[in-house]
Amino acid sequence: MSDNLYLDEARDPLIIAEAWMKDGKDVAIATVVETWGSAPRPVGSHLVIDADGNFHGSVSGGCVEGAVVTEAVDVIGSGKARMLEFGVADETAWQVGLSCGGRIKVYVERLG
């Protein structure tokens, strides 16, 4: 048992991001910065991604993670942060929209 009852180290995205960084991996961090309507994950939720597309955490109920991972790999390459928006109003809704009908804004940045 972990000696910290209140922080799930094995699944915590920010703890994993730090461990990846220590292993010398390139890492991107995606954060839900705004939600409208019904959104599966609250503002502040994280998805962390490495350059090979491995990821931990979530920014939705699995609806848009694939798209965020793809963008994140680009962000790792360029070092330039991006603001992504997902929702039923988007042109891309039919591909990677949120079936719950909500909208979310996700900020993707490189670690370091």
């Binding site: 209140y6 960084m21 954060t31 910065v33 705004e34 609250p42 503002v43 502040g44 900020y107």
Partner: protein, 234 residues
């Protein structure tokens, strides 16, 4: 994100201290603000509000947009006493999102039969609290009625600035307790923070009803913390 900010943030989270990651969404620069750090202006006011509510969000200040990501420790409830009230309190607290630990050195009371699926320590509070100190995001309810067990934990809870401190007992019992805590070195202001008789006044009679009253008072204390104590907070 700045690697140093991430390391600092994770260290704060492991130590159960509140911190906010402030990110300028225009240029991507970020920094960690700890509870109690002085930040001026509109941004400072927004940060103070975020520490109270725990709700992350964006804020416009100084012509820029900042994202404030609040990382508050999960509140927890430490109960001194593996008694009838605690048996009812344990499942209710868990459902309400306040993980609970029970400490009672009396091995006849602290049995896993009586407390299935509960973090239970059949030890003296001083031994457990030395390993796992109390903090500002912990509530403490002392319900053994036994000064030998309750008093040390109550003093420790006051010193750690627990967001809630409650003690079971009538007004008469509490008056004697006040004398003992003064003798232990607690100040009158500190002692005034103890909720005694314990629990919101809902006319609770049964152990389960008293558990509801304690839990409701804990939630009220957590959701209003930092508001009445503004002047007192260092």
């Amino acid at each position: 994100m700045d690697p140093y900010a991430l390391k600092t943030l994770n260290a704060e989270r492991r130590a159960r201290r509140a911190a906010i990651l402030v990110t300028d969404l225009g240029d991507g620069r970020d920094r960690i603000v700890r509870e109690g750090d002085q930040v001026a202006g509109d941004l400072g006011a927004a940060i103070a509000k975020t520490f109270r509510s725990g709700n992350s969000g964006s804020v416009e200040a100084e012509g820029r947009t900042f994202f404030l990501n609040a990382h508050l420790p999960r509140p927890r409830l430490v109960v001194i006493g593996a008694v009838h009230i605690s048996q009812a309190l344990a499942p209710m607290a868990r459902i309400s999102g306040y993980p609970l630990e029970i400490i009672d050195p009396r091995t006849a009371f602290a049995t896993s039969d009586r407390f299935p699926d509960v973090a239970l320590r059949a030890e003296w509070p001083q031994d457990v609290l030395e390993r796992q100190p109390l903090d500002a995001y912990t509530a403490l309810a002392a319900v053994t009625h036994d000064p030998k067990i309750d008093d040390f934990a109550l003093k420790a809870a006051l010193d750690a600035n627990c967001f809630y401190v409650g003690a079971l007992g009538s007004r008469k019992t509490h008056a004697k307790r006040v004398e003992r805590l003064l003798a232990l070195g607690a100040s009158a202001d500190q002692i005034a923070r103890i909720h005694a008789p314990i629990g919101l006044d809902i006319g609770a009679a049964s152990p389960a009803e008293i558990a509801v009253a304690i839990l409701a008072q804990t939630i009220l204390a957590f959701r209003s913390r930092g508001i009445q104590a503004k002047g007192a907070a260092a």
